[in-house]
């Protein structure tokens, strides 16, 4: 693409720039070399920059600097964001699920223990195995959470100490219940009190810590790569400006090296922007239809479990101080399907399959309310055994059946939402993986092209 020999007769233009005697302009010849001792550095630079090769070398220096900066910033940035996104998929995301599982298992264990007490004597095998499964799930979740650094370590420690204490009290209650001694009910009340004043609040703390970690990772993963974009744009501006300068001064419109570098720079900036856009779209969908959905559905599930425990505890209290449990029951169900309740929130971002489940959950809640009314009517009017039968038995009047169905449906919806979260986090990670390698290569091409393109011109001055 080069045309004729370099254009002649430009004032100040010399051939080899080094011999100081050949410097033009009215300055005294500078005896010291560039980069020499103090005071003359500025003069040396100024003189240097007066010559075109000097200027070009300086421009090369700046462009290389900016290009290196852009390349490093984009590669390192993509790597770190990719790492944060992977954290959400492999670490903080699953740990949030474990924290919910912990809370849910302990709530269910408490509700099951109260139901088992109502059955009297030796509890039914189904309730016993459900209780044991809950304790097992809670212990496993606690182990997974304990292994994670930076969580709510004090709360996890308190849970590690308290959960065995809770199971010990429940077993003591069982022993006394088998001997038909009312001391058993006292140990059950103590266990339930430990659960609600210590274990569940600590589980709530752990959940909050894991959610905060997830949000932090998500924000890191979805952060705008400001520095890399800014440097990339600056490099492009510099490259275009250099090419215009060169094409004016050398009358050669195109410089292969610099063109290549500019093309690489444009692709780099675009790719960076695109990868950020795609990954942050995936991350935000992973939040709205994934982890945020999981949270709302889990809150709904736990409210239902607590309502179930309240229903049983009202019966266990046998009329004395049972009122406060029944009041709480109403409050928990209202938090579920009342206006602006957990179900309303969850329906906003639900997919069709989940919407069906949630509709069925609403039907279950209506059935539960009417069966609970009949149960309370029986208990308040002296038909205690009928009330207990409705609470723990099966059949048309059974609140156990309807609340178990509700729990299962919400469990399925939670699994769906968690699947969405994992898929979206995976996509976001994929968006970023390619970008890391790609922008690295493009940065190398950009640097290479810049150096090559400018050195060509500078070499012509030799």
């Amino acid at each position: 693409m080069s045309t004729a020999a370099p254009a002649p007769a430009r004032p100040g233009r010399t051939s080899p720039p080094s011999p100081p005697a050949q410097r033009g302009a009215g300055n005294t010849p500078v005896a010291a070399r560039p980069g020499g001792t103090g005071g003359t550095l500025a003069d040396a630079l100024r003189d240097r920059l007066r010559s075109t090769p000097g200027r070009l070398t300086a421009v090369l220096a700046v462009l290389v600097l900016l290009g290196l900066g852009a390349g490093l910033a984009s590669v390192i940035g993509v790597e770190s964001r990719g790492g944060a996104v992977e954290e959400t998929a492999t670490h903080s995301g699953p740990l949030t699920v474990q924290a919910q599982l912990l809370y849910r298992s302990m709530s269910d264990a408490d509700a099951t223990a109260a139901s088992a007490y109502l059955s009297g004597g030796v509890e039914p095998a189904a309730l016993r195995s459900r209780y044991l499964a809950d304790i097992d799930a809670a212990t496993k979740a606690l182990a997974a959470l304990g292994a994670s650094p930076g969580g709510a370590t004090d709360a996890v420690r308190a849970l590690n100490a308290g959960l065995p204490g809770y199971t010990g009290l429940v077993e003591t209650a069982r022993v006394y219940n088998r001997q038909n001694l009312p001391l058993g009910a006292a140990y059950l009340r103590e266990a339930s009190g430990l659960m609600s004043t210590s274990l569940l609040p600590n589980a709530q703390k752990v959940y909050q810590a894991e959610t905060t970690a997830l949000d932090t990772d998500r924000d890191s993963g979805g952060g705008v790569p400001w520095l890399a974009l800014a440097l990339g744009v600056l490099v492009l501006v510099g490259l275009i400006g250099t090419q215009r300068y060169l094409s004016r001064h050398t009358h050669r419109t195109f410089n292969v090296g610099l063109l290549t570098a500019t093309a690489a720079g444009v692709v780099l900036v675009l790719w960076l922007g695109l990868s950020w856009t795609l990954s942050s779209v995936n991350l935000s969908e992973g939040k709205n239809n994934g982890s945020a959905q999981v949270k709302m559905l889990s809150d709904a599930r736990i409210a239902a479990l607590q309502a179930r425990a309240d229903e049983s505890l009202t019966l266990v209290a046998h009329g004395g101080s049972g009122d406060r449990f029944d009041v709480d029951f109403g409050r928990k169900l209202a938090a579920l399907d009342g206006k602006g309740g957990a179900l309303d929130d969850a329906e906003q971002n639900a997919d069709p399959a989940t919407l069906d489940e949630l509709r069925a959950v609403r039907n279950d809640l209506t059935a539960w309310r009417s069966r609970h009314k009949a149960l309370r009517d029986n208990d308040d009017n002296g038909r205690f055994p009928l009330a207990v039968q409705a609470a723990i038995g099966h059949g048309d009047a059974s609140t156990a059946d309807v609340s178990a169905d509700l729990d299962k449906r919400l469990g399925r919806a939670i699994d769906d939402a968690q699947g969405t979260f994992t898929a979206r986090a995976g996509s976001a990670g994929d968006d970023l993986t390619g970008a890391g390698v790609g922008t690295g290569i493009l940065a190398v091409v950009l640097l290479g092209g810049t150096v090559m393109g400018i050195q060509r011109r500078v070499a012509e001055y030799r």
């Binding site: 560039p34 290196l68 490093l72 370590t153 219940n177 001391l183 006292a186 009190g193 890191s220 952060g223």
Partner: protein
């Protein structure tokens, strides 16, 4: 290779270090901040305890109120009406019209009022006495004729005052103080306060309780008595009697002190405990009713008289308390005029 080689090398070195610094800055800027702060644990620490334990209790010693004779109650008027034929307009007629007698009881006092898990029903000495009342009104004590509401000691008087229950049969001591708020029947059980400790404990009586933690239920005469003892123990109040037992078994208190009848029930559940010391109070138990239901008081006293005379009281005592000792004579009835 030009003359400026070394300078270019120097420049390149500077560029590299600058680029490194830039990269480090980029890394810091993009990597985000560190892990969230660790959050502390919440909730009570240490060994678990029952809920609602007051230590020390908010009980104050009641000075003995001798303004009345606690055992004196209203004389039954004439003969007892037959079951199903309550005098019109009487409290018993209203109960009969409702279809069931509502009785306030305890479901945690073994042998007197406790939930029997094999039958799913509340049973005990007090329950059998309440059943006698239901039988006198309805002819039997089947589940549709009598409803038990398990209430705490502190709820006994308020539930009578707002008519939540018709009568309270709950090892309730007759005192002149309480007689100002509710009406009592004649004495149907004599008890006295004693002390329950672990076997081998150095405590032998109320004088050994200096500084010791002694438990009783909130709102009872027992907790007030403990608060007023000369030896100055630390009174610990709980909601139900079995909570005292849990505290004793968990080593969090030194003794439980209340009516020997209640202590009999607690000791029967744990053979490593024993009752020590003399009876240091006099606790006649009465059935409590609403203050204005004189006709119900007379009716209940009539049923109790019948039980004293026809051996019903002794049968109930033998059924529940034979493990404690031989069956005594029922306490005599004392009437006001």
């Amino acid at each position: 290779m030009t003359v400026h080689g070394p300078h270019r090398t120097a420049r390149r070195r500077r560029f590299r270090s600058l680029a490194g610094a830039l990269g480090a800055v980029a890394l810091l800027a993009l990597a985000g901040c560190g892990a969230p702060a660790t959050t502390g644990a919440v909730g009570p620490t240490g060994a678990p305890r029952p809920q609602d334990v007051q230590e020390p209790a908010h009980a104050s010693p009641q000075p003995p109120d001798t303004s009345c004779n606690p055992r004196a109650s209203l004389r039954p008027s004439g003969g007892l009406p037959s079951a199903g034929q309550m005098p019109a307009g009487s409290t018993m007629a209203k109960i009969a019209a409702r279809g069931r007698l509502i009785v306030g009881v305890d479901q945690t006092t073994y042998l007197f009022g406790y939930l029997d898990s094999t039958t799913g029903q509340i049973s005990g000495f007090d329950i059998d006495v309440a059943n006698e009342m239901a039988t006198a009104i309805f002819g039997d004590a089947s589940p549709q004729h009598v409803q038990y509401k398990a209430i705490s000691s502190a709820q006994r008087i308020p539930f009578l005052q707002n008519d939540t229950v018709d009568i309270v049969v709950d090892s309730m001591t007759i005192t002149c103080e309480r007689a100002k708020s509710v009406a009592f029947s004649t004495d149907y059980f004599d008890a006295g306060q004693r002390i329950l400790v672990h076997k081998g404990s150095p405590i032998k009586g109320p004088d050994d309780l200096a500084g010791k933690k002694v438990c009783a239920a909130d709102g009872t005469t027992s907790i007030s008595t403990i608060a007023g003892l000369k030896a100055k123990p630390v009174p610990v109040a709980v909601k139900d009697w079995t909570d005292c037992m849990v505290l004793l078994q968990q080593g969090q208190i030194d003794a439980v002190s209340t009516d020997d009848s209640i202590l009999d029930g607690l000791a029967a559940q744990d053979p490593t405990t024993q009752i020590v010391g003399p009876k240091f109070t006099d606790e006649p138990h009465g059935i409590a009713m609403g203050k204005n239901n004189d006709d119900l008081v007379r009716f209940v006293n009539g049923v109790l008289d019948r039980m004293r005379a026809d051996g019903g009281w002794k049968a109930i005592y033998t059924r529940w308390l034979s493990r404690v000792g031989p069956t005594p004579e029922p306490p005599a009835a004392v009437y006001t005029g």
